[in-house]
């Protein structure tokens, strides 16, 4: 658990619902689709934050879920954004994500509020290299951080270890590879679990402690901040591996879903 400075305090105003308009829909992988929302009340946010989305039925029943923001904030932290991107994975047993995938169209209005969450966020002044570890749609808050880092910060080294079932399931694959080719301080490692990896530096297995050691070797020094997002089982392996590699618990922030 970290002792970082909170970004919000008990005195801040209530964050109100707004009626966001779906401006475009882009399929990213066989199971993940991006939804871009135009915000009538633009807001400033930090990379890693989330929004809540609420669906309401005619009988008054409603269902809400939290989704991490995939887009990067404006270059100046305090500038409000008028459009955000959410990347939503279709969960077969879910209620909200299948609705997005099956029903939502461009120009639909969706109740949304944010930004929310003040812990799993890119530090305003990174104290050293940053390690990002994600699996599947757990990349979403991390891509916001990476996009933000690529746009604004010119010297913080960043390494990303991303696990996915197949190459086709790697969310934002082309963008990630382009960042790596363009930016010397960014290193990308893929852990592909259900087929052989395509690139020499990638892994063809599930995450393990040895893999973490190799990824840490991509950074010029031990990371000052580690962000891990994915299923609980994945996050436990990654977080325990980071602790075993000598990283302090306070440097490791996690966001989990599932059992």
């Amino acid at each position: 658990m970290s002792s970082d400075t909170p970004t919000t305090d008990g005195q801040s105003a209530k964050i109100e619902w707004q009626s966001a308009v779906v401006s475009s829909i882009v399929r990213q992988t066989p199971t993940i689709t991006s939804y871009f929302f135009r915000l009538p009340q633009p807001f400033a946010y930090r990379a890693g934050q989330h929004v809540d989305v609420r669906l309401t039925a005619p009988d008054g029943y409603s269902a809400s879920r939290s989704y991490s923001i995939a887009s990067s904030p404006c270059k100046m932290f305090s500038d409000p954004s008028a459009e955000i991107e959410l990347a939503i994975e279709r969960l077969e047993e879910g209620e909200v994500s299948p609705f997005f995938h099956a029903v939502v169209q461009e120009n639909d209005e969706i109740a949304l509020r944010g930004p929310l969450g003040g812990h799993f966020v890119w530090p305003e002044k990174p104290a050293g290299p940053i390690l990002l570890i994600g699996s599947g749609s757990g990349l979403v808050p991390l891509i916001s951080m990476l996009r933000h880092a690529c746009r604004t910060d010119n010297d913080t080294p960043v390494a990303l270890l991303l696990s996915a079932r197949t190459r086709e399931d790697v969310l934002y694959r082309d963008e990630l590879i382009a960042y790596e080719e363009k930016l010397r301080r960014f290193s990308l490692r893929l852990a592909i679990t259900r087929e052989p990896p395509h690139r020499d530096k990638d892994f063809g297995r599930r995450i393990d402690a040895g893999m973490l050691g190799e990824v840490l070797g991509d950074l010029p020094a031990m990371p000052a901040h580690v962000f891990i997002c994915g299923s609980n089982g994945f996050v436990n392996i990654a977080a325990d591996g980071a602790l075993a590699a000598g990283l302090p618990a306070a440097a490791i922030k996690t966001e989990r879903y599932g059992e």
Partner: protein, 201 residues
Amino acid sequence: MLTRGFSGRKSAQEFVDRIPPGQHLVENFPVLSAGPAPRVDTAEWKFSLKIGPKPVKAWTWAEFNALPQSKWVRDIHCVTTWSKLDTQWEGVTIDDILADADLEAPTEFVLAHSYDGYSTNVPIADLSVGKAMVATKFGGKPLERDHGGPARLLVPHLYFWKSAKWVNGLQFTTRDEAGFWELRGYHMRGDPWREQRYTND
């Protein structure tokens, strides 16, 4: 505001009066936490009661397990919108902890502290008179590390971030001091029936 094309899932009508607004039922037990799960050995475990900075009493694992044990069946509600019904817990109520320390609540407010540095604020009114316990068993078995074992706070009538995992102490405070999530945009009290999810909801 209605959502075009949304009718909702109508699977849980029989439990509708037990599910707070905006929540949905789960059968599994999702795990959420903000950092690595600490490993706490019961041989090293200690639970302390403090008034401000002043320690009042502390219990070892054996001493704590010798206190009166209570068994509860409760519904629990997570701010991430899942609810789980009829969960079975065993542990020591806050009333029994205070009684063993021969202490009457000296202030209205409490901060619960955990082994990983987590904290959360709960008024004593939400902890006493049979409202909360420090739980050491779930479903008849020792509480798993992922769910806060060896011991977690259980305040089932508030959103579950108030039920601090890996709890190691309660501290009376003179003011209602915000804890970890309360400092990061979440509600000071967290009543699921009033949907007190985020600051000032």
